[in-house]
């Protein structure tokens, strides 16, 4: 067709200048319209004489098209440096201040006993309080609890802070804690979180003190308790579960005002919040599924904080005076799972290692993720207790990969299927880049887009494609849980089985002594790396765009947007 070498710089500039104002496409459309305008009518019975000048209609059509197209193409050059307009509120008393933030999905339920998913958790974090909570970095802090201690392997003693009230004015006591746990566990009520709390019992000592007894030793209890929001017994019993989910009452910094499904959740500051009344009077969560629409809403000043910013949009947002983008590593780990349960070359550990050497993680993070990713050695993140930073990730070494493949008996490589689901930051692009890199060492991948639910079922059934992109993270993750779920024999999200690995993990989980446990966890991480049941990639980043008028807000490792401590200027 065209020969790029023929064009010297000078002609290039001339041509591009010529086309700058009038894109090729508008030419094409213009021509169509002109031709259409000339067409004679098939059904014509009355002859209509057109004496008017044809040019006029062509010109007017042309003007419209050029206007529209220049508007569209003009967007590419516009970095939106101009301010977002006068929609932001004047700073003033807390009741007049408002923060609006937006994510792609709606909350699943406002009843914390049914709450699953990060989006839901972030809204509940405003309305409710829990015994313990995690700070932005994932460290456990006290929330409703004044103090807590482990009495023995299975018993924990808690004391509540004094003077805490629910939004309806009633006092929060040990009975409410007991009621929360009891009803979550209640099999008849079928709450989604039931199995996560079924092994614990609350024994009330007095109004503010109680014990939690677990069926087996469970070292991760404090972490798990960060996820149970305490609900008001009297109110829930009075109005019933269904009404409670519609008009929730908690003890958190914000009162529930209104929910419009798939649209928004509105909240307002609670005067008597035990942590002090929040600085911002109104908080509204908006659901905006389309990525471009979220960006546009932020730029237009319709919202103050947005999540799930695409890496390609970062520069644009940063270039606006009033906006900024912040990215932070989260506890969500992305890896390419390997199905070792079906017959494939992946049963050979050398092949699995070869795959790890063949993927240039650094190039992917820089190129596809624009730097928003942190390479990690396995699936344990630095935020987890027992993380061993001395274990280095596989380096990029295609020669070594080829050598290992030859040793394993595949000097000419082989073909595999690789599936990906939506929902991971630039996930589909990452997978396609990985496929291209694997092709370099002779492994040809057919990339398939899978429905996430279907893929989950296939993983559970062991019938998933040999390679599949997966991500693991979430509210109560730690090394034990992620390795258990992802790489242990018979687990739902595991397509790997190794008795030695299982034994080591179980030993680590049952070890109470912290130093000893750390040593075992370190061995576990090393073993995971050496056995390579996955292509280990990176920690996913949370990318948020925000209006600079919001202060004192930081992104969290658990991907939630929580603005309870924030203020606006």
């Amino acid at each position: 067709m065209y020969n790029k070498k023929c064009l010297n710089l000078n002609t290039k500039q001339q041509i591009s200048k010529k086309f700058n104002k009038m894109p090729l496409v508008s030419f094409a459309i213009l021509r169509c319209m002109q031709i259409l305008a000339d067409d004679n009518d098939k059904n014509q019975k009355i002859i209509y004489k057109d004496g008017g000048n044809k040019m006029k209609k062509v010109i007017s059509a042309a003007l419209i098209m050029v206007m529209v197209l220049s508007l569209i193409t003009g967007c590419s050059n516009d970095s939106s440096g101009n301010s977002a307009g006068g929609q932001s509120q004047n700073p003033g008393s807390s009741s007049s201040k408002e923060i609006k933030f937006a994510s792609p999905v709606d909350v699943s339920s406002l009843d914390p006993r049914n709450a699953t998913g990060t989006t839901t958790a972030q809204i509940l974090a405003h309305i409710y309080s829990s015994l313990l909570k995690t700070d932005a970095n994932g460290a456990i802090a006290k929330d409703l609890a004044e103090s807590y201690e482990s009495v023995n392997d299975t018993t924990w003693k808690f004391k509540l802070k004094e003077g805490i009230t629910f939004h309806d004015g009633s006092k929060l006591t040990s009975e409410d804690v007991k009621y929360t746990i009891d009803t979550i566990k209640d099999k008849d009520k079928k709450f989604k979180l039931a199995s996560d709390f079924s092994f614990m019992t609350v024994n009330v000592t007095d109004e503010l003190s109680f014990e939690i007894v677990t069926d087996q030793p469970f070292a991760a209890l404090p972490l798990r308790l960060t996820y149970v929001k305490i609900i008001p017994k009297a109110y829930v019993e009075r109005v019933g579960d269904e009404e409670f989910a519609k008009n929730p009452v908690g003890s958190g910094p914000y009162k529930f005002v209104e929910r419009k499904k798939d649209e928004k959740v509105a909240m307002e500051a609670y005067e008597n919040y035990f942590g002090g009344k929040p600085a911002v009077g109104k908080v509204t969560y908006l659901i905006i599924p389309e990525a471009a629409a979220r960006i546009a809403a932020l730029e237009a000043g319709e919202v103050d904080i947005i999540s799930n910013v695409e890496t390609s949009q970062v520069e644009r947002l940063k270039s606006a005076d009033n906006l900024d983008v912040i990215g932070n590593p989260t506890t969500r780990v992305i890896f390419i799972g390997m199905n070792t349960l079906i017959d494939s070359p992946l049963k050979n550990v050398k092949v699995r290692q070869a795959l790890n050497y063949a993927v240039d993680k650094d190039a992917i993070i820089k190129g596809v993720l624009d730097g928003y990713g942190t390479q990690i050695a396995t699936i344990s993140t630095p935020q987890y207790e027992g993380y061993d930073s001395s274990i280095a990730p596989y380096e990029y070494d295609p020669e070594k990969a080829k050598q290992l493949l030859t040793e394993a008996g595949y000097p000419n490589g082989f073909e595999l299927k690789l599936s990906v689901t939506s929902g991971y930051l630039n996930g589909q692009d990452v997978v396609q880049a990985i496929a291209a890199q694997l092709a370099e060492v002779g492994i040809k991948c057919t990339v398939r887009e899978a429905d996430s639910n279907t893929q989950r079922e296939q993983i559970a059934a062991g019938t998933v494609d040999p390679l599949y992109m997966n991500g693991i993270g979430g509210p109560y993750s730690n090394i034990d849980l992620v390795t258990k779920l992802s790489f242990s024999t018979g687990e739902r999200y595991s397509t790997y089985s190794n008795p030695d690995f299982d034994a080591l993990r179980l030993k680590a989980a049952a070890t109470v002594d912290k130093n000893e446990a750390a040593e075992l966890l370190s061995q576990l991480q090393q073993m995971a790396k050496d056995e390579a049941p996955a292509i280990f990639l990176y920690q996913q980043y949370g990318l948020y765009g925000y209006n600079k008028r919001v202060i004192n807000w930081t992104p969290r490792v658990d991907e939630m947007i929580v603005v309870t401590d924030a203020d606006v200027q």
Binding site: A37, N43, S80, K261, D262, A296, S452, N453, G490
Partner: protein, 305 residues
Amino acid sequence: MAKYLAKRLGQSLIAVLGITLVVFLVLNVAGDPVQLMLPPSASQADIEAMREEMGFNDPIIVQFGRFLKGAVVGDFGMSYNYNEPAMAVVLERLPATLKLAGAALLISLIFGIPAGIISAIKRNSKTDAVIRSISLLGQCIPAFWLGIMLIMIFSVKLRWLPTSGNDSWKSIIMPAFTLGVFTAATITRLLRSNMLEIMTKEYIDVAKAKGLGGYMIVMKHAFKNALSSILTVLGLQIASLIGGAVITETVFGWPGIGRLAVQSITNSDFMVVEAIVFIMAISFTLINLVVDILYCIINPRIKMQ
């Protein structure tokens, strides 16, 4: 009339039943949502227990019987995603979709009818050519692409309209326009060709001879006659409007049942999917029935068959 209506109602009922049956079977092939109903930490045994309890292990005929029994009274079970009765989840979002479809219909009538009439009266003029070109383009542009382009121009570039949501009258403009373009184009083209056909008929000449003004002829005879065919098309267009809402609502984040349908299909929230299908099937049959009746009122000469 009553007999005809009864027959039509009977047929509609069969159609609704048929659709629900098909959807039930299709979704059954797709598997069950138990995996998603439990947290990741649940064991395979928990899942099996849940499956048994929810009745997913029963023979399919038993499941369908149970499903039908519920469907008759509008009970499609609980949405696992929203923890509410599936029907309630759908009904809650129905007004938004009706509002959007209504606005789109209004826009398509406001643009389509005058455009079609003008196009027919001023046949082969510049105006006609422009209207015909635009209406043809309207049928060729992918709706979601049009929506995206509108967002780019009016929200990102010009900042005139909000990108998404259902907050003010401003937020409905773009989605309704996006959704209405195809219908408007269809109405324009149909009205034009119908009116041209009628305008050439003899009785129009008779009317002319009686001395009525040219525009009056057009309005009274041609338009009235063309209207009945417009109505027929509208019946079908309403189906495509609600179908188009699936895309439009996703693009503009409109909180209606179209977006809910997409979400529920990808989340395997089958109870909601079934409820949506049921509601849609009923709406279509009702709309078509109304169209039939209107058809007879406007055009009494046509006998009901």
